[in-house]
């Protein structure tokens, strides 16, 4: 059986990974157009070959700081269906890695637990199988598209709910 493949990328100075089936493609998106009232994690809307996609600043969403990108260029991972209208901005050094070991390696670097607590929601829990080892012995944090979308949806909903309450 072929080990599950992941798309490995850098985020917040550390390698992260998304399962390959959750990734539709990698794309250079035009500069996203900001959406008024959207939470900071939502970078805006962009055009991908005539299709409007929502660009999410993944580093900001995961409280890893603002994603550093060059002006006029937005390197993003377009999620596969059913989230095909969402693109995640990531830092460079994207690779396709296969043969992942689902068992967590010993000695997880400190701080992963803190980063995993985003907005009071446990997106990637410590000591869980979300942390995996890449074939070149590199430790990466495995993400899931579904959880990312949920987190983003909560952000958006929380944002609009607060404004509604204020109104």
């Amino acid at each position: 059986m072929t080990p599950p493949a992941v798309v490995r990328f850098q985020l917040g100075g550390r390698p992260h990974a998304l399962p390959l089936p959750e990734v539709a493609e990698l794309a250079d998106l035009p500069e996203p157009v900001p959406v008024p009232g959207a939470p900071p994690a939502v970078a805006g809307l962009s055009d991908l070959r005539g299709r409007v996609v929502t660009v999410i600043d993944l580093a900001r969403l995961l409280r890893l700081g603002e994603e550093r990108r060059e002006s006029g260029r937005c390197f993003a991972i377009l999620l596969a269906a059913p989230f095909g209208h969402i693109a995640l901005t990531v830092e460079g050094d994207v690779k396709i890695a296969t043969g992942l070991d689902p068992a967590p390696p010993p000695g997880i670097p400190a701080g992963a637990e803190d980063r995993a607590m985003a907005g009071g929601e446990c997106v990637i829990g410590p000591g869980t199988p979300e942390e995996t080892a890449l074939p070149d012995a590199e430790i990466a944090i495995r993400l899931e598209a579904r959880r990312i979308v949920q987190l983003c949806s909560r952000e958006v909903r929380g944002r609009f709910r607060i404004e509604t309450e204020e109104e």
Binding site: T2, L20, P21, V23, E25, L26, A27, D28, V94, I96
Partner: protein, 411 residues
């Protein structure tokens, strides 16, 4: 003679007269003759006595006058008008007396004049003596002065000789300065030519720098074009990288069937990465080239400015050298004139030295002559003293002569 004839005639006449007169008185012949003779003799004697008395009266008068004259009275006149010898004698005596009177008067007058002259001479001699003494003192002073003058002239001669030597040395140095100034003028001209050449070279260098700067600017533009091309290559490599990644994703999604495609996609991705890396290196190099070209351009612009300023400075130096050359040439002319003047001065100084040496010799001779003159003046003083004594003696003598002559009464 006449007197002798007169006397003889008187004797004969007296005899004849006696005989004639006595003859009527004769008695007897012998006695008569005797009487006649005796009477004749007596008459003759009486006649002779009377005649002699008559004849000698003028002589006696003349003797009386002579006696008066012997007493010094020359005022008497002989009053004899006879035509005989006595008259002649009296006239001669009178003439002699007149001549003697004139002589005495002349001697008296001359003696008075001599006395006065002697006194005057004595006074003059005294004055001359005093003057001569003063002259002697003055001559002594002049002699000392002449010695001092000779000494001073000797010093002056020495100083003048030193001055002449100095002038000759100045002339030599002026000649040397003339040569140096001429050499400086030639060097200034050569420097001006060198500066002019340097100005041309600097201008050529400025033009070359400008051309090089233009070339470097073109090179910089080429580097920018390279950068743009490299950007394009980088973009292509990035897109290729993206395509390779997407191809790898598709290959992975295809499972076992896509393995070979995945390998190829991975190789393409690596190539794209390499291309991007090389492009980045080229971009970096182009950027460095661009930056360094900018630096070189700035340096060349600074060099152009510096070269321009250097050219201006060298041109100013050339102009200054030109002015220096003109000044040096003018200086050369002046120095030449100075050299000629100093040469003339040196020759004049030699003449001056010779003249002063001649003056020195003359001064020495003058000193010696003045000493001799002083000695002669002293001798003259002695002579004048002697002359004064002689004049006094002459005055006394003339006075004595006048006393002697004063026995003659001439008025």
């Amino acid at each position: 003679m006449q007197l002798k004839l007169g006397l003889s005639f008187m004797l004969v006449a007296a005899l004849v007269i006696g005989v004639t007169v006595g003859a009527p008185y004769a008695v007897e012949p012998p006695y008569d003759l005797f009487v006649m003779i005796f009477g004749g003799l007596l008459v003759a004697l009486l006649a002779a006595w009377g005649l002699s008395t008559w004849l000698t009266r003028n002589i006696r008068a003349l003797a009386g006058v002579a006696a008066v004259i012997s007493q010094g009275d020359l005022t008497r006149k002989v009053e004899i008008r006879g035509q005989d010898e006595v008259g002649d004698l009296a006239r001669s005596f009178d003439a002699m007396l007149s001549s003697l009177l004139n002589i005495v008067m002349e001697v008296r007058s001359t003696s008075e004049q001599i006395f006065e002259s002697a006194q005057s001479l004595s006074a003059t001699a005294a004055e001359v003596n005093a003057t001569t003494e003063e002259i002697a003192k003055a001559a002594a002073n002049i002699a000392r002065g002449a010695e001092t003058q000779a000494e001073m002239v000797g010093r002056t001669s020495s100083i003048t000789r030193e001055m002449a030597e100095s002038i000759a040395e100045v002339a030599d140095r002026a000649q040397a300065v003339f040569r140096f100034a001429s050499e400086a003028g030639e060097r200034a001209r050569a420097g001006r030519q060198s500066a002019t050449q340097a100005t041309r070279k600097i201008l050529e260098m400025a033009e070359r720098i400008e051309r090089a700067r233009t070339s470097v600017a073109g090179f910089q533009a080429r580097a920018l074009q390279i950068n743009k091309t490299v950007d394009f290559i980088t973009e292509v490599a990035h897109q290729t990288h993206m395509l390779a990644l997407n191809a790898a994703i598709e290959a992975a999604r295809a499972g076992e069937e896509g393995r070979g495609f995945g390998v190829i996609a991975e190789e393409v991705r690596k190539l794209a990465d390499h291309a991007r890396g090389f492009a980045e290196q080229i971009s970096l190099l182009a950027e460095q080239i661009n930056t360094e070209s900018g630096t070189v351009i700035l340096a060349m612009q600074a060099s152009e400015v510096a070269t321009s300023e250097g050219g201006q400075v060298v041109a100013a130096a050339a102009s200054a050298l030109d002015s220096i050359a003109e000044s040096v040439l003018a200086t050369v002319e002046r120095v030449k004139e100075i050299s000629e003047l100093t040469g003339r001065q040196a020759r004049g100084a030699e003449v001056l030295v010779r003249s002063i040496e001649e003056i020195s010799r003359i001064a020495a001779n003058n000193a010696a002559g003045t000493q001799e003159a002083s000695a002669a003046t002293e001798e003259q003083t002695a002579s004048m003293q002697e002359m004064s004594v002689s004049a006094q003696t002459l005055a006394r003598t003339s006075d004595h002569l006048k006393e002697l002559i004063s026995i003659f009464r001439i008025n």
